[in-house]
Every structure is written in C-alpha cells, then in structure tokens.
C-alpha cells in the first residue's frame, strides 16, 4: 500500500540573491513496510527531501501526499499535530532531552498525544526492551553511549506508532559496532512490525541493509533500485 506520494517536488533556496535548487522536480512514492535509503553526495538534496516529507520544511512547488493527505496544504498547527501522530524522527545527533531519563524520553511523545499512564508505560517498556535497553530505562542520556542514545531515539520515534520513520544520517555519529547493532534493531522492527523506515545516509552499511536505494544528485533522482 502506498503511504507517501511525491509529485513534481521543487525546493529553491534564495541565498545572497542566488537561487539554489535543492530539490528539482522529484516524483517518487513509498510503500508501507519499505526499508529505503536515500543516498547522494553532500548538498545533493537528500536531507531537504526528508525534511519536506516530514513536514519540517515547505516545498516551493509540487505536493507531498501521505495516505491521501496533502501535508503542504495543512496549517502549521495541523501539520505539527500530523507529525506527532504519523511520523517518527531519528536525528543524526540523537537530540534526546538531557534532563529526562531514557524511559521519560520515550514516554514524552505519548504524553503529548494524551495517552494514559498505563498505556505509556507499557509501550515504553516494550520499545526499550526491543532496542535492547530494558535495563537502562532510568538512565539519563549523559549516562548512555552514543549508540545507546540513538537506540533510545529509535524507540522514541516508534512510541507514537507512526506510519513511517524518517532517519536523517542516524549512524553518522556511531562507531561500526553501534551502527551494526542499531541497523539490526531497525531491520528487525521493519520486518516484524512492518514499520516503514526512510533513511538519508552516506553510510554504506545502511545502504547494504536497505531493500530500496534512491540516489539523488543536484536535487534529482538519478537512480531508484529495489533489491
């Protein structure tokens, strides 16, 4: 089932009176349960594409439809609400809340959704166990390694039961062991729970795991290969 459909997407940045075409007419769609890597050199437009899909940035032209809803037509408030309910985010620098424990970081988004305490606690426990941090729930981010923090970030991204997860360079700050570990967890969640993952990455290990690889250069898709 198609969950994301992008049509004729353009994004132009105007800096110092020079127009930069970061995304230049992209048409692409994503099916439910995909494990897709978007690759390309720095400045090719992959992060911009991810930001537009995630509703964090506006498109200059074109549309992004998620399960039939054109997100670029939603008001800012509705878009924020839409992100909370439908999209999970994993950031390069983990971006956990340092004053909260691992458990609280995962719970936080469910709190925003207004879910009850019992539901929140059960889901948090389930997710942290799934990412191998069942014993470290009460640790704050400063007491966790980079890999562990990124696993908490994955658990947090899944907490809201999103339709898909956007992961922007999730392994860029991790060593190879942590990268392998994280990718195994995400692959397992993808296979077992049919969670759709879309990565932007430079990392060949991510590309190797991905079942679909989209290559972007100068804001255009130059290849789209399903394995």
């Amino acid at each position: 089932m198609k969950i994301i459909e992008i049509k004729n997407l353009h994004k132009i940045y105007n800096s110092d009176s020079v127009a930069v075409h970061a995304v230049n007419g992209i048409d692409v769609s994503f099916e439910e349960g995909e494990f897709t890597a978007i690759v390309g050199p720095s400045g090719s437009g992959k992060t911009t594409l991810l930001n537009i899909i995630g509703g964090l940035d506006d498109a200059t032209e074109g549309s992004v439809e998620i399960e039939g809803i054109k997100i670029n037509e939603l008001s800012a408030r509705k878009l924020t609400d839409f992100r909370m309910k439908n999209i999970g985010f994993v950031f390069q620098a983990y971006n956990l809340i340092p004053v909260l424990t691992a458990k609280e970081n995962v719970e936080f988004i469910m709190h925003l959704q207004g879910r009850n305490k019992a539901d929140r606690e059960a889901r948090t426990s389930e997710l942290l166990k799934a990412v191998g941090l069942g014993e470290m729930m009460d640790r704050r981010p400063s007491k966790l390694s980079g890999g562990q923090q990124q696993r908490v970030a994955v658990a947090r991204a899944l907490a809201s039961k999103p339709k898909f997860v956007l992961a922007d360079e999730p392994t860029a700050n991790l060593d190879s062991h942590s990268t392998e570990n994280l990718l195994d967890i995400m692959e397992q969640l993808n296979k077992e729970e049919k969670i759709t993952f879309i990565f932007s990455t430079h990392d060949q290990r991510v590309v190797n795991k991905a079942r679909r690889v989209i290559t972007i250069e100068d804001g255009k898709i130059i290849s789209d290969i399903s394995k």
């Binding site: 992060t47 930001n51 995630g54 964090l56 940035d57 800012a76 408030r77 924020t80 609400d81 992100r83 909370m84 309910k85 985010f89 950031f91 390069q92 620098a93 971006n95 809340i97 340092p98 004053v99 909260l100 609280e104 719970e107 936080f108 988004i109 709190h111 925003l112 959704q113 947090r156 809201s160």
Partner: protein, 406 residues
C-alpha cells in the same frame, strides 16, 4: 510532564540559575523589608496621630473648625460625653475647650493652640500623660494655674518646669483676656510640630479665662475599641450629637488619610521597580537557556510539540526560576520583618527631619499578609513577562534548521 521538564531545565545550569535566584531573593528581601519599614513608620505615625493628637472621632459645634471661634461650643458637653462613653464600641471619650492664644514668656513669644482638659478623662483618650519628660501632668503646685507644654516650645521660649508664661486670648465677650500660667510639666511626642504648638491647661482654668459658663466644650474626642469600626461609630455618635458635627480622624486630617491610602501604591511602585530591574536579568538568563537549547527545542517542535506548549514550557521555566527566588526573598524578608516587629529600628540619626513630620525615630516593621500575596503575584507576573521575549525567540525557530544546529 512538561511541568517536570520545566523544573529540571531550571536546574540544568545550576550556577546560572542559583545566581539569578539569589539576585531575585536579595531584591525581594530588600523590597519586603523596606515595605515593612515604610508601613511600620506610617502605622506609627497614624498611631501617634490618633493616640496623641486627634483621637478616632471628634465632635464640634457646627462651623467651629472653620476658625475655632470661642462662641461656637457644644452645649451639655458633659452629658453628651457620658452618652458617647456608654456606646459599646467606644473605649473612652473626653471633652475639651480650645483657644488660640498669644504666648508671652521672658525669652520670647509665640502662638499656639491651648486645650483645656479634664486630666483624668483625657488620660483615657490620649497618651499625653505618658509623654512627660519633666514635671507633672497638670498638678497644681502653686497659686498660678498649671500648663503643660511641649519640649519644642519649651526650648524655643527657654521655659522649664516652674517657669511662668502669660497667655492672651480673646474671650467669649470679645475682650482681650490675659492670664499667667506656671509650667507644671513638659511633654515630648514624636511630632515636634505638635509639641511646638499645643499647650494643655485645666478645663476649668481655660473656661474661666474664656468667660464661658455651664456644661460647655469646643470638642469631644473619643477612642474606639477597634480602629476599623470608626465609620460605624461615627453614625451612632452623630445620632447622639444631633446638629453638632462628627468627624473621623481621616476627615479632620485628610493628609493623614492620603498618606495611608497612598502608602500601598508607593509600596507596590517600589516593589515594581525592583522587579523591573530583576526582569532584565531573568530575560537574559532565559534567553541564554533558549539559545543553548536550539537543537532540543527544534526536536520538540519536529516531533509534534506545538507552539503553545513550547511557549508554555519556557514560561513555566521562567516562572519557576522567578518564583523560587521570589518565595525565598519573601520568606527571608518576612523573617527579618518579623524580627523587627518587636525590636525597633533606631533611626534617630535622622530624628530632626522625621520628627518634624511626626514620624517616630524608632520604627517597628509592619507587614500585612495580603501584601505578601500581592508581592508573590507580582513575582509570578514578572516571570511571565520576562519569558515573553525568549519564548517568542524559541517559537521563531525552524525545526528543520534547529535540529541540525551544532
């Protein structure tokens, strides 16, 4: 949970928060103490005005207060005083005669206000008898009638106990009346202006000098059991007094009334100035807190925390920071105030200026609980106002850019 995050964020940079909290606490300690000091000084001034000078209520013949005319007196003054004394809300009442004499002494002359009193009745209403610094309270020790004068007048006219002075006034018949008095005592209140102008003599002596006869008085003064019931008592006394004028101390001395009513405003303006100064410090602290957390706030917005909640979280942090310092300051200020409620602060170094305006040189602090509540509310408002700029700055962040900030 947002409450919990906000509280933990306050303590994220402990040193910075503690410095700000201490600054707020010190500012408010000073504010609360200064407020209590000013209030104490004013309460002491009012106490002095009502217990020494004006009493709570006064009755006069109509138009007497326009120019203290001798012929405008209250008839049956003793009987009316007795009836007033029988009112449950009245603690004590007394009657007086009033004249505006010209005083001549060996070393100078001057004007003043002479009150003819019945010492035993007067004692129950005013505390002049307790203010003696020398001599006796109108005890007759010689053939000449006794007079009680203020220390300031005694110094001005170089008088001491036993000195003679001559008093001239216009009597009931419009004739000039002159009479010699001997200083029996010297009193000293906190109001040097009062001490310089008010002389006390025996009711009968003044009545004789003024050529008055019968149960007459120019003034009936009374003290109520509860100062807050003055307006109610006035209504009852007015019913007894018939056509005579009944006035509260606030009506007799409107400047005192303005002083008490404007005191609250002065206090809050003073506190607001302190809080305004602290406001800049809080804005700076909150701005730093927001700018340091650009990435985190961007993430919160990205994952679905709406602007209202982000705004609220920063507001809460600011209010918590301000309130922590504020409550600490209010508590410390209250404790210091409480200590000085029973131990007076000696400001005699400024006695000349203070006593001229009727203020005591020993001030007991006074603070009302509702003042503390209002100060706490002002502190919360300061926290909210201080957070507006940093919070607006946070709301302008673009989550996509903010999450990638280094």
């Amino acid at each position: 949970m947002i409450l919990s995050i906000a509280w933990r964020n306050v303590w994220r940079n402990k040193v910075r928060s503690i410095i700000m909290i201490v600054a707020i606490a010190l500012g408010l300690t000073a504010g609360v103490f200064a407020t209590a000091f000013m209030l104490g000084a004013v309460e002491s001034r009012i106490e002095s005005a009502t217990r020494t000078e004006l009493a709570h209520l006064q009755v006069h013949a109509p138009r007497f207060m326009d120019n203290n005319e001798t012929g405008l007196f209250i008839s049956n003054a003793g009987e009316l005083t007795q009836k007033i004394n029988q009112l449950a809300e009245v603690d004590a009442a007394c009657y007086r005669l009033i004249a505006e004499p010209f005083i001549m002494a060996a070393h100078g002359t001057g004007g003043g206000k002479m009150l003819g009193i019945v010492p035993e009745m007067e004692k129950e209403v005013t505390n002049i008898s307790q203010k003696l610094v020398d001599g006796t309270y109108l005890e007759k020790n010689s053939r000449m009638p006794p007079v009680l004068i203020g220390e300031k007048l005694a110094k001005k006219l170089k008088l001491k106990v036993g000195s003679k002075l001559n008093v001239q006034m216009v009597d009931m018949n419009g004739d000039l009346s002159s009479k010699g008095y001997r200083v029996s005592g010297i009193y000293r209140t906190v109001n040097t202006g009062f001490d310089e102008t008010n002389l006390f003599v025996l009711y009968d002596d003044l009545k004789k000098q003024l050529g008055l006869h019968g149960d007459v008085a120019h003034e009936i003064a009374m003290i109520c059991d509860d100062a807050n019931t003055v307006d109610d008592v006035k209504t009852k006394v007015q019913q007894l007094a018939g056509n005579d004028d009944v006035k509260t101390w606030k009506e007799i001395s409107p400047e005192m009334s303005i002083l008490t009513e404007s005191m609250d405003q002065y206090m809050y303006i003073f506190i607001l100035i302190i809080l305004l100064g602290l406001c800049f410090g809080i804005v700076n602290t909150m701005l730093m807190a927001v700018l340091e957390r650009t990435k985190e706030i961007g993430m919160l917005m990205a994952v679905g925390m709406n602007k209202r909640k982000v705004f609220g979280m920063i507001m809460l942090e600011s209010v918590m920071l301000t309130l922590t310092g504020g409550l600490l300051g209010v508590l410390t200020g209250s404790l210091i105030t409480r200590y000085f409620e029973t131990r007076p602060i000696d400001v005699s170094a400024f006695s000349e200026g203070l006593e001229k305006y009727g203020y005591a040189t020993k001030v007991y602090t006074a603070l009302q609980p509702n003042t503390l509540v209002i100060i706490t509310i002002l502190v919360i408002l300061t926290g909210i106002i201080s957070a507006v700029y940093p919070a607006r700055k946070a709301l302008k962040l673009n989550p996509a850019e903010a999450t990638r900030t280094e």
